[in-house]
């Protein structure tokens, strides 16, 4: 593999970690969603590049799923849901931005130390990808635990899942990558539908199922 190919793959995977960091400190839901769309877009680019480098055409499908489903459909759907739930003006108090960022840096350092140490045998690209992917997974977990709003927890989970897709594509020749990304898309679609159906606002403080029944004209 030429060094240019490696550098580009490295750059894209690094950008994904950077996008995760950007998600950490967003305190408005719309802004968080926009950064997530960027995150998914970077993932799509990264996966497409891997498909090109590895000569693995099936990975283009995964890249396409990332681009169409995660970077466009889901953010747009969530935008509309947020508006309908009337929580688009709300500002989330993320627990002390400085502290969260420090924790994030710590997690990235941890994943670098762990992954680079245990994979001396693997080829350089796969190692770097795994280390970045673990960082994205851990940052996703951090986003989930520092948020109280159901929608932003889901966004955190989706960024975590992007990290997994990065790891799966980085592992050269791994089978079932496409199937797994489809399975995850189904999972996410269910979650998003769940938010909408159950009208989960600020973490269940006002799950108004009665209103939902009236809305659908259903009799009890």
């Amino acid at each position: 593999m030429s060094s240019l190919q490696f550098d580009i793959a490295h750059l894209l995977a690094g950008s994904l970690v950077l996008a995760s960091f950007m998600m950490l400190y967003q305190d408005r839901l719309y802004a968080l969603l926009n950064v997530y769309a960027l995150h998914a877009g970077v993932l799509a680019l990264s996966v497409a590049w891997q498909a090109y480098v590895q000569h693995a055409p099936h990975l283009y499908v995964t890249a396409l799923i990332a681009l169409v489903f995660k970077a466009i459909i889901i953010p747009v759907a969530l935008h509309r849901i947020i508006k309908r739930l009337g929580i688009h003006r709300e500002i989330e108090n993320v627990i002390s931005i400085g502290l969260t960022m420090m924790a994030g840096i710590g997690l990235v350092a941890l994943s670098m130390v762990v992954m680079l140490r245990v994979t001396p045998g693997a080829d350089a690209l796969a190692r770097e990808d795994l280390a970045f992917a673990l960082s994205v997974v851990l940052l996703g977990l951090l986003i989930m635990v520092t948020r109280r709003n159901a929608v932003s927890q889901v966004v955190g989970f989706m960024s975590l899942e992007n990290g997994l897709v990065l790891a799966a594509t980085g592992a050269k020749g791994m089978p079932l990558v496409v199937e797994i990304s489809v399975a995850f898309s189904v999972l996410i679609a269910f979650i998003v539908i769940g938010i909408f159906l159950f009208r989960i606002r600020e973490r269940f403080d006002s799950v108004d199922v009665q209103a939902l029944d009236r809305f659908r004209g259903e009799r009890r």
Partner: protein
């Protein structure tokens, strides 16, 4: 022929799920659900008489045979219980027929997903199956659509998703470890191939992979401190689902862990998973035993008891060796049978009394003697009093590990005794106190409950030699 029978235990639930989603009329669909579950169970028995081979996707060996038969059997008895349970729910209007159609379809989907996870020879496929089982149970836990049920379903959803995400990362790492040895492509995920070559894998990578797998699948097993979803999901969903969750789904996640443990055992340079599993098992036992004392909801209480027993099972498998594995396996089966029987009883009791609050239920042995004594028998079994099956398996767990790790065994026994105290204290008032709540006779089907309890009692007194040798073979396989 093998593939036919193996395929059938997947096809029957899959086809009936589709049918049940289409057909109207809950009386018919409830019966169809029972018939489908029975057919799957009978097919699973066929697996014992035919030759076994394994392909790239499906696998059949002594280990998963035990799990499959247990899963399909409890699946069948629970479907019988479910039929009489939902009949009552329809009458009081807690569920509507439209929801019921969905419920039955999901029940068969869950059976399909669990069977698939058990016979998958491919670690990627196994992961997809466990994800599917999680999704279907999430949908069923939230089916009552009350505030609490939705919160429980959401919590289960988020924690379960994070769990399976970590498990997937572990799976990818296993593939990374396998790739230099077995080459790229499908072989790197086929379990039989992985086990054959595991000795040459990079041990450091395997270690990290196992940590992720333990955290990921351990969340689904309900090991403390990853158990937070379990009590809510058990308490708020329909009781048949609590029975299936406790009796089966926890086992399926454990099965996945055992498969990876077997793989690590082949690689001598990798960490031994034993100590990690023993530690998590003991923490779960002690933690759950202490939590039993402050429970107010009867289903939640038995959910904590499930955490305790999964802790004992994981402890036994973590200790390893033929004897402890045998004890762990027996304990797992006994726990599945007993806990689902308890949930059958509790389900009907909650329906009769119209509440799950322990404080509002009293004097069951007077008001509903059959249900009351049934639950009493179940509790006697679950706390491990002789001569029932759980006494036997707990005794085996303790005695087989005492010589090797006396201090750990002392902690374990302490946990078991604390749990016994908690359960007896709570259940005493429910059983013998002043009669409280409604006293209407229960329209219950007692057959599933007493079948399970009968089996547990029989196992405590006499275990047929055929079963013993069978379990011994499995225990040897587990290493």
């Amino acid at each position: 022929m093998t593939i036919d029978a193996l395929g059938a235990i997947l096809l029957i639930p899959a086809i009936s799920a589709t049918l049940l989603a289409i057909l109207p009329g809950y009386l018919l669909t409830a019966k169809l659900n029972v018939v489908a579950a029975l057919a799957t169970f009978l097919t699973s028995l066929l697996l014992f008489v035919i030759e076994t081979t394994s392909g790239q996707y499906l696998l059949l060996d002594d280990l998963n045979k035990v799990f499959i038969v247990l899963t399909t059997f409890v699946g069948f008895t629970t479907s019988v219980f479910s039929a009489s349970y939902i009949h009552h729910e329809i009458e009081i209007g807690r569920l509507t027929p439209a929801f019921l159609r969905f419920y039955h379809a999901m029940y068969q989907m869950l059976m399909f997903a669990m069977n698939l996870a058990l016979i998958a020879n491919n670690i990627g496929l196994m992961w997809v199956a466990i994800e599917m089982a999680t999704l279907t149970t999430v949908l069923m836990v939230g089916i009552y659509r009350t505030h609490e049920a939705l919160e429980a379903a959401w919590k289960y959803f988020i924690l379960g998703s994070v769990g399976i995400a970590l498990a997937l990362f572990g799976t990818i790492l296993v593939y990374m470890a396998a790739r230099p040895v077995v080459g790229e492509g499908m072989d790197g995920m086929v379990w039989t191939v992985l086990v054959k070559h595991a000795a040459q894998f990079d041990s450091a990578l395997l270690n990290v992979a196992f940590v992720f797998l333990l955290l990921g699948y351990g969340t689904k097993v309900g090991l403390a401190p990853l158990h937070a979803w379990l009590p809510d999901a058990h308490a708020e969903g329909p009781t048949p689902i609590s029975a299936v969750l406790s009796g089966l789904l926890l086992n399926v996640a454990l099965y996945a862990l055992l498969r990876f443990k077997m793989m690590l055992a082949v690689n001598s340079a990798a960490i031994t998973p034993g100590p990690l599993m023993v530690t998590m098992g003991l923490i779960s036992v002690i933690f759950a035993a202490l939590m039993l004392y402050r429970r107010r909801d009867i289903k939640r209480m038995f959910a904590y008891s499930s955490i305790e027993h999964m802790g004992i099972i994981v402890f036994a498998f973590g200790m390893g060796g033929p004897l402890a594995n045998f004890a762990g396996l027996l304990h797992m089966i006994m726990h599945s049978l007993t806990k689902s029987a308890i949930f059958f009883a509790v389900g009907h009791i909650a329906q009769v009394k119209g509440t799950q609050k322990i404080a509002d239920i009293g004097g069951l042995t007077v008001t509903n003697p059959v249900l009351g004594w049934g639950l009493m028998l179940g509790v006697i079994a679950i706390v491990g009093l002789p001569p029932l099956g759980i006494f036997m398996s707990e005794f085996l767990v303790v005695s087989s590990t005492f010589a090797r790790a006396p201090w750990l065994t002392v902690i374990l026994v302490l946990g078991i005794i604390i749990a016994l105290g908690g359960l007896v204290l709570r259940i005493g008032a429910v059983m013998f106190g002043e009669p409280k709540g409604k006293t209407a006779p229960a329209e219950a089907s007692y057959v599933p409950m007493f079948t399970h309890l009968g089996l547990v009692m029989m196992a405590g007194i006499y275990l047929p030699p055929v079963l013993v040798t069978g379990f011994q073979n499995v225990a040897k396989l587990l290493g």
